[in-house]
Subunit: 130 residues, 2 copies
DNA sequence: ATAAAAATAGTAATAATTACTGTTTTATAT
DNA sequence: ATATAAAACAGTAATTATTACTATTTTTAT
């Protein structure tokens, strides 16, 4: 695999932010440094970095995936209202399930724990959520 | 909301299976009873049932969502090789995090825990996974 | 049985993502 | 430094999952 400044820039951005941007958001950001970068390049490098284990993909189920350069054991909170993803400290025991063999169903390579709800901001801003 | 046999059939199928079928799979199954059902109807009813809390959507991040009529607290195991989703019994404490307020980030309506790896079958069938 | 509301089938449209192709970068060896 | 092969890119076209639209059919209540 060869070096590429585009990939470097994508990784750098992901490491610099505490947001959990989507491919589109990453694209728009990296475009400031590399105006000619194409969305395909962003997607290709994101999957590449995920495969290398350098970043994590977060699937919330709302259509677009989010990405996170923090690969340490932590969970996420997803607001079903503003669709933002936030970091969440979780009791270590939860993530440590990884090391516990689970009924021999297969190998366990990762565990993802996602909390969903309505975040503070959205509760304040919005009145009728349901 | 009115009754509909198509929706009933979708729910019945979901309740009868231990697999965690995708919309496409559900469509092909329900089609045996309702040959004229359209894929749009399947999707519409699935989102409806999810909104009503009668079924759960499972997003594995592989492009297509899976559905589960078992709304009780349990986790899933996803095989990144054959893309199947299996039920997993998890220590209750994990799911009970729901009831613990979490740093006041917002309301917590649900938590989903997903384990990913390569299932037994795929380990046996396949040699070169990586 | 009738009429209004809701749901459907079928099709068209959208959105996220992937594949393709000819050109540019990167790494390596002269 | 130059030449060369491999990898990555930009740009665009194609795919795939999902949603929206519309005219028709079902359901429910009168």
């Amino acid at each position: 695999m060869n070096y590429s400044r585009q990939r470097e820039s994508i990784k750098e951005y992901l490491m610099s932010t505490r947001e959990h941007p989507t491919a589109e958001v990453i694209y728009n950001h990296v475009r400031e440094s590399y105006p000619k970068i194409s969305l395909g390049t962003v997607y290709r490098n994101l999957t590449l970095l995920v495969d290398l284990g350098e970043i994590k993909k977060i699937s919330t189920g709302d259509g677009t995936d989010h990405f996170d350069a923090d690969t340490s054991a932590h969970s996420h909170y997803y607001c079903r209202c503003c669709h933002s993803v936030m970091d969440l400290e979780v009791t270590p025991s939860v993530e440590q399930i990884l090391s516990a063999s689970s009924a021999g169903i297969g190998t366990i390579e990762s565990a993802s724990l996602l909390f969903t709800g309505v975040c503070k901001n959205c509760v304040l801003d919005n009145d009728n959520l349901d």
